[in-house]
Point group: C2
Chain length 497, copies 2
């Protein structure tokens, strides 16, 4: 065995250990009895320690050095070396004490964030947030992959992306989104959102979501759907990718669009080519690319007229009273209602980006020390007014709404909007190559779109960098205009403007 | 830290890793998608390897030697040393190749057993069974804890027990059981078993079982009940003991008595004193003692008249049609029907022991080489005729009915019957100390019995050896007469003999 083969062997065990960690996490959110969280936290910590010790072992360091001397590596081998080195360096550059301090502080931070949110009192969370930011700045200094610390943090979630690159894309998008929002706002023919906020039997919602994901070619032989408070997707092996949804009796959207969204994530992870199974390459290439897959299925497919031409009659069969006298067009328009709202996770396709841009700019200023943590609530509210024309009545509906910062995740948010942009660009290419794709949906056939995504994106896992992948698939760098064009083409007719 | 403290620290991590293995196993039986068994098997093997490597490490060997030099160890420390040494020696004495060979052969053996059972063709399984027996004889030779190999294998499941000791107890029991079976057989007033074989709504069965286990003080904050093909109990941490049951629409008994049985196992593991949590002592002292706890709850409590005085009205409320015109006495008698049957897992309290005695004697003869594997089907049927007066019409209903041998588990079976015997003796002591216990059941109060079991048995985990524990709790060695007396006192009135 040469060094690259040995490296693969080491990482196949590390990957399996990570799958086992994923099972601990999945079970925690789906099944864990309330009284067992403490013990589970200890198990998580133990498995993290075992993986950490393996990653930073002299053996891996030596194998990477030896492998770097090899020439003529093929595509998979050179990607393996690149990603193995990345994983290794992330672990060795960060002192164990710093990692433990962050882990402890974010556990504590999460508790304080929950309390602050419940009591609508930012000052409860503020000291922990200050401490976490300080620690993450230390992380950026230790890793030092980019000249500015925020780019270094972004790189953890979106390898290869920088603040400047994203800021340029987001700034262009902001103006365009603004334009669309204003135009839709003045429409005198808005969708009837109240269709969605009737009583929706939870068992029937569940059954419908199961039918839909089967229709989307989610393979229940290699995965399962469950319920959890926060929907998520996770792979527990190369043949076991599970996801969850949540059901709200008073609101139709969370269950079905949660299912489709997570199903999109799952289809990505189920599509890795067999030769990278159980390897360091068996993962999404970036959070943004991952999100593009969920958004394509949730929005471009799941909120399209063609999709509902097939599914609406089936849905109506399950909910005859709720949908009595509602035409497919009424329903289609209701699931595509655009309205500036306070909470990111409930935002529509058009206004969603504004929520992200707000966070992205605030994160930059916090990490660079341009604003103080104590100023965040005020700045948040100002920006909400600027970007969406509404001011949160409370901090719980404003700066305290998202869990991410309490976990120390700075640099994660921008990947959500990047996901929308990547998604639109991929989908545009798919439609150019297969213009009849949406017609397939009307027949309940979603396999041609899946085949396109598998062939062009899924199978490669982490073989290509995100930006290279976009270029390979679409012929150009990430271009936010595709998303804007998609929105205009879709929403102007819905709003009759 | 002295050696014993260090040893405890090492074993607390090993225990946590074993809990993580248990999660892999629980998930496999409760949730795993069909297409993921191969990947899960690899994960199991990886975790086994990690635990094995930790157990046989020089560090542990050295700590044990050092700890053995310490004097004046307290109860917990000396038990810790004893059990740590036992675990260590079991691992170091067995060559890795032998362990792997057994693991592979039993995986293969399981598949062949399933096939042989489906096709009712013992010859499909025979070569694998021969190989497995050969391998287990090698295990006995390597471990060499007793002069005869079968005792060495028994010791793996029932530490301290030997073939001779068990044979003596079983022989006494056999005659007595025979006597009872004959007496019940000639009764002209037998229970009406058909009450149980109506259609029983599966959702209502489930709900009833949930009510009952809550009534038995199973803490759903530290555990959960699920469904699986084969009911089982497993601990995933010191605060997470889960179990499963199975539901048969055409037969009332499996769900409720499965639930109560497994709940009994779970209550045991949930009752370990806090100072042995996450330690090598946090386990059942033996399979027989474990089984005693499940049998006390399933049979002595769950099939008692006092139990049903409380639960029958509640059950009748859920199943008014099934139980219309059935008195509590009809129902009580039906769940205590005694009839020689082919299948061990469906056997009643009286005939159950005969199934075990048959296996125990055959195992002895196989391991000692007194009979050939090819002779097993014939010998099985002969013994069924001798012990229970019935002959299996097929090998699938005979020698092929149990999974244990396909997994290489020789020496496990006797612990089932030992469990019944231990259980009766413990319960006898409980009743002597608290004669009014059964009256509590009539009020739905099961906490006094649980308190007795916790105080005397559960809290100690593996601190005392099984035989010592029995003596401590009941004042004498295991005495099968308590079980026989219990059966006579209970079943003669039911059968009016």
């Amino acid at each position: 065995m040469n060094a690259i083969e040995e490296l693969k062997k080491e990482f196949s065990e590390i990957t399996r250990l990570n799958y086992i960690r994923a099972l601990l996490g999945w079970d925690e959110q789906v099944n864990l009895p309330k009284g067992s969280f403490g013990a589970r936290a200890e198990q998580n910590a133990l498995m993290s320690k075992i993986v950490h010790e393996r990653l930073i072992s002299d053996k891996i360091g030596k194998l990477i050095k030896e492998a770097e001397k090899l020439t003529d590596l093929n595509l998979i081998d050179s990607a393996t070396l690149r990603e193995a080195k990345r994983e290794y360096e992330l672990e060795v550059k960060l002192p164990t004490e710093l990692v433990e301090e962050i882990s402890k502080t974010s556990s504590h931070g999460y508790i304080k964030w929950v309390e602050a949110r419940e009591k609508n009192d930012f000052s409860i969370f503020q000291p922990l947030l200050e401490k976490l930011i300080g620690l993450k700045i230390q992380v950026a200094e230790k890793l030092d992959t980019h000249p500015d610390p925020y780019s270094t943090l972004i790189d953890l979630y979106e390898p290869g992306a920088t603040y400047d690159w994203i800021a340029n894309i987001f700034n262009k998008s902001k103006q365009n989104l603004n334009h669309i929002i204003k135009k839709l706002n003045v429409s005198s023919d808005k969708p009837d959102f109240s269709i969605l906020t009737q009583k929706w039997n939870v068992d029937k919602q569940w059954d419908f979501s199961m039918e839909v994901i089967k229709g989307l070619n989610y393979d229940l032989n290699k995965g399962r759907q469950d319920k959890s408070v926060h929907p998520f997707t996770t792979s527990l092996s190369s043949s076991d990718t599970r996801f969850t949804t949540r059901i709200d009796e008073d609101f139709f959207s969370p269950c079905i669009f949660g299912s489709i969204h997570e199903c999109g994530h799952a289809l990505y992870e189920m599509g890795f080519m067999e030769s990278i199974h159980d390897s360091v390459l068996a993962d999404g290439v970036s959070m943004g690319i991952h999100e593009s897959q969920s958004r394509i299925w949730e929005n471009m497919v799941g909120r399209s007229m063609e999709f509902w031409k097939y599914w609406y009659p089936i849905l109506k069969n399950s909910f005859p009273n709720n949908l009595k006298d509602k035409s497919i067009n009424d329903f289609y328009r209701s699931v595509n209602t655009v309205q500036p709202s306070l909470i990111r996770v409930e935002a529509d396709e058009v206004t969603y980006g504004m929520h992200i841009i707000l966070r992205f700019e605030l994160e930059k200023d916090i990490i660079e020390g341009n604003v103080r943590v104590s100023e965040l609530p005020e700045l948040w509210n100002e920006q909400m007014e600027n970007l969406l024309g509404i001011t949160p009545p409370t901090n719980s509906d404003g700066v305290l709404q998202d869990v991410h910062w309490s976990r120390g995740s700075f640099g994660y948010f921008p990947t959500y909007f990047l996901g929308n942009l990547y998604g639109a660009q991929f989908y545009n290419t798919a439609l150019k190559q297969y213009p009849s794709l949406p017609n397939d949906y009307e027949d309940g056939n979603f396999s041609n779109l899946l085949a396109f995504l598998r062939d062009n994106i899924h199978q490669y896992g982490r073989i290509y960098h995100a930006r290279d992948l976009v270029k390979r698939v679409t012929g150009e760098e990430l271009n936010p205009n595709y998303f804007i064009e998609y929105l205009e083409k879709k929403f102007y007719p819905i709003y009759n403007v």
